[in-house]
């Protein structure tokens, strides 16, 4: 991991934006997973720029799946861009559980992060009964949907 990190830093010149998101992935290597973001959603959220055209819409993310198991650390992100050969690469030592796409800054600016404790909830339901997270939750948890209302 450390050797790979140094190599990538040298390749990128140490610059580049922080990596904060991953796309859907397929197992491509024994140690690394290759992530492809065909829609460029993750590209724009990770790098902070809008996609330029069809040719730009593929980015490859290399994630180390040995260190943290199910929640891999992103160790390299590169942008396949025919016009701009220089890849944007950044080593990210992101804590496990904090690199889901939901945490990418363009989607969840200021929102709660994965792994944090959910704020307490004490509200009425449609029958005017008081409900809390505890009584709403199932054996494994709760899927809470926030909606605009005023239907």
């Amino acid at each position: 991991m450390a050797i790979i990190a140094r190599a990538l830093v040298a390749e990128s010149g140490g610059g580049g934006p922080a990596v904060a998101g991953v796309g859907s992935y397929s197992l491509a290597y024994p140690r690394f997973r290759q992530l492809r973001d065909q829609s460029s959603d993750v590209v724009s959220s990770v790098f902070g720029f809008a996609p330029l055209g069809v040719g730009d819409q593929t980015a490859t993310f290399m994630v180390d799946n040995q260190t943290v198991g199910a929640t891999p650390n992103v160790v390299r992100a590169s942008r396949a861009d025919a016009e701009q050969r220089a890849c944007h690469i950044k080593i990210a030592s992101v804590p496990a559980g904090s690199i889901t796409p939901a945490n990418s800054k363009s989607y969840n600016r200021g929102m709660m992060r994965v792994g944090e404790a959910a704020p307490a909830l004490r509200v009425l339901d449609q029958e005017e009964r008081e409900r809390t997270l505890t009584d709403l939750s199932g054996p494994r948890g709760l899927v809470l949907l926030f909606y605009r209302g005023y239907w």
């Binding site: 998101g21 991953v22 796309g23 859907s24 992935y25 992530l35 829609s39 959603d41 993750v42 959220s45 199910a70 889901t100 796409p101 939901a102 945490n103 990418s104 989607y107 969840n108 600016r109 200021g110 929102m111 709660m112 992060r113 994965v114 792994g115 944090e116 404790a117 959910a118 704020p119 307490a120 909830l121 509200v123 009425l124 339901d125 449609q126 029958e127 005017e128 409900r131 997270l133 709403l136 939750s137 199932g138 054996p139 494994r140 948890g141 709760l142 899927v143 809470l144 949907l145 926030f146 909606y147 605009r148 209302g149 005023y150 239907w151």
Partner: protein, 127 residues
């Protein structure tokens, strides 16, 4: 509503569903009956929960909730959260697949093309 349709599948995974807005209980009750929802509709009339979750849109209709989907584990920790938009919604089936086989989290919802029909235009004009 896709989530409500898949409620039993979520329950089979050990997760219950609930939806939250700033609507008053009477309105939520009417909406639930009209659409035939089974999940509870939570009414954050005082806007305390949406503010605590930082999902408060103060610019519309005196303050409403920002659409979002959050998965809270049984231990009270957030397992997944995503802020959504009018044309960018997380698919229930994708979330369900991820809950059944955690690994890579679901992709951020993509914006989808939306063209309202004449009925929607008419309703909007009436309002």
């Amino acid at each position: 509503m896709e989530f409500d349709r898949l409620a039993e599948a979520f329950e089979a995974q050990g997760y219950r569903l609930a939806a939250l807005s700033v609507d008053v209980p009477e309105r939520s009750r009417a909406v639930r009956a009209r659409i035939g929802l089974r999940m509870p509709l939570l009414c954050d009339v005082m806007r305390e929960a949406v503010k605590a979750w930082d999902l408060y849109n103060r610019r519309e209709r005196g303050g409403i909730a920002v659409p979002a989907t959050v998965v809270i584990g049984a231990d009270g920790a957030i397992r997944y959260c995503v802020r959504e938009g009018m044309a960018r919604r997380l698919r229930a089936s994708e979330l369900l697949a991820w809950l059944g086989q955690p690994g890579g989290a679901p992709e951020p919802p993509r914006a989808r093309g939306f063209w309202p029909g004449w009925r929607a235009w008419w309703r909007a004009l009436q309002r």
